[in-house]
């Protein structure tokens, strides 16, 4: 493993995109950053600007208003960027998949690297998904 991939895997900075979410996934993502789960152990931290991000966390169902914004965010991100779809709505559309304003799921709009299903996924599940990504 070269120094490039090693340092990239050791320092993933997260950017959080919440679609039309019910806020449960948002809360579980924030749980990962709290002292109990402490993702800074793996060198991850939440950044406020997409220009600094290495990981784009997308949760919630993507409706017609969200779609152009998600594409804009993805195009603004410096590559390489890892996209993680969190929750049932992010992965498949969940209970919103039949709705008439639904424009997703996420992988129809931007390429997704990791899917973390659950409604909402537990913080342990999110961490397990990230660790699987790191070991890939």
């Amino acid at each position: 493993m070269g120094i490039k991939t090693h340092s990239f895997k050791k320092s993933l900075w997260l950017f959080h995109f919440g679609g039309a979410s019910c806020n449960n996934c948002d809360i579980e993502i924030l749980d990962c950053l709290t002292p109990r789960y402490d993702v800074e152990r793996f060198g991850m931290k939440l950044v406020g600007s997409i220009r600094h991000a290495d990981v784009l966390l997308v949760n919630g169902s993507i409706n017609k208003k969200d779609k152009p914004r998600l594409e804009e965010i993805y195009n603004q991100a410096p590559k390489p960027i890892v996209v993680v779809a969190i929750g049932a709505c992010g992965c498949t559309g969940g209970i919103f998949a039949e709705g008439n304003t639904f424009a997703g799921p996420v992988d129809k709009i931007i390429p997704v690297d990791v899917y973390i299903p659950g409604c909402p996924p537990k913080p342990e599940a999110i961490l397990a998904g990230i660790v699987k990504l790191l070991n890939k």
Binding site: I3, K4, S7, K10, E40, G43, G48, S49, H52, Q76
Partner: protein
């Protein structure tokens, strides 16, 4: 040739980057302990820097001055490194060859914030310009206080304006051992806090409010330069306080341990202040420096004149 070695390797760029990175890890680890977390691994600052430098793409602003945008981080790195070299050379008992270097260091320490302002203005982002205007106000408020501290120290060292002579003036007892020294130490800790942009005064960067403010558009290797400048400043400013007030650093034998403890102590103080305070508004920061810190510095100067 020797000067190039001083600038690039020891005590310049390479040494300052490694030591500053370790100090940055110390800062994050202490923060984690204060919040009952485990914290990042030892090499985390270097992983961050290498990732930004080698892996990430650098995005240039479409509407903005690209040359200024890219040269601002490099210039800030030069400013911080030169200040670090000029501070650490007298500590290592190497004559820098000119008198009045304390004033040169004062101006060099101003270069990184000024470059952040230039870079933010050149990026053409509205949030970045909000951050830049806040940074300008912050500079205006802490610079007067900082120069009052320097004036007090020059007065205390019998009008010596050479860093080496200031260190030798403290060889018997350090300046912090007097009432005026303690006051000056308090004032300079807050000045350094504002210069580093740590939390009570991270108004210009305000992650949760204006999304990293001045640095919002920086990515990839340009941001790596800024991160490196921050590491170097985290070494330079505590070292400057150590030289001015804590009696310099002994670099022979067991003295090295005391020197490292001095720097770690100052950084620990900065970290604890940053973890126990909320961000202030720019108005409150200006009032804090203009009224209270200037008052303390002037009281210290009066005490020095009367010999305390």
């Amino acid at each position: 040739m020797k000067e190039l070695f001083y600038f690039l390797v020891y005590p310049g760029l390479l040494f300052a980057a490694v030591a500053g990175g370790l100090l940055s890890w110390f800062d994050r680890k202490i923060t984690a302990w204060v919040q009952f977390r485990k914290g990042p691994p030892l090499l985390q600052p270097f992983y961050d820097f290498l990732k930004l430098l080698l892996v990430k793409e650098t995005i240039l602003p479409a509407k903005g001055s690209v040359i200024l945008y890219l040269s601002a981080p490099v210039l800030s790195l030069f400013g911080a490194t030169t200040a670090c070299v000029l501070i650490l050379l007298p500590v290592l008992n190497i004559q820098t060859g000119f008198s009045g270097d304390i004033l040169v260091i004062f101006y060099l320490l101003n270069i990184p914030p000024l470059c952040y302002i230039l870079g933010a203005m050149a990026s053409g982002n509205p949030l970045a310009s909000v951050g830049a205007s806040r940074e300008i106000k912050l500079i205006l408020s802490y610079e007067l206080t900082f120069i009052l501290v320097l004036a007090a120290i020059i007065l205390k060292a019998d009008m010596k304006i050479n860093l080496h002579e200031i260190i030798t003036a403290q060889s018997e007892n350090a300046f912090i051992g007097s009432i005026s020294g303690v006051l000056l130490f308090i004032v300079s800790i807050f000045c350094v806090q504002a210069k580093l942009g740590l939390i009570p005064f991270d108004i210009a960067e305000a992650e949760t409010e204006i999304n990293h403010g001045s640095f919002i558009e920086y990515s990839g290797s340009a941001y790596a330069m800024i991160v490196l400048t921050k590491y170097i400043m985290l070494l330079t400013l505590p070292a400057f306080i150590g030289v001015l007030l804590l009696g310099g650093f002994n670099t022979s034998g067991v003295g090295i341990v005391y020197s490292i403890l001095k720097i770690l102590g100052v950084v620990l103080l900065l970290t604890l202040i940053r973890n126990t305070n909320p961000r202030v508004k720019i108005k409150q920061a200006m009032r804090f420096f203009f009224i209270w810190m200037n008052l303390l510095a002037i009281i210290a100067i009066v005490l020095i004149v009367f010999g305390f």
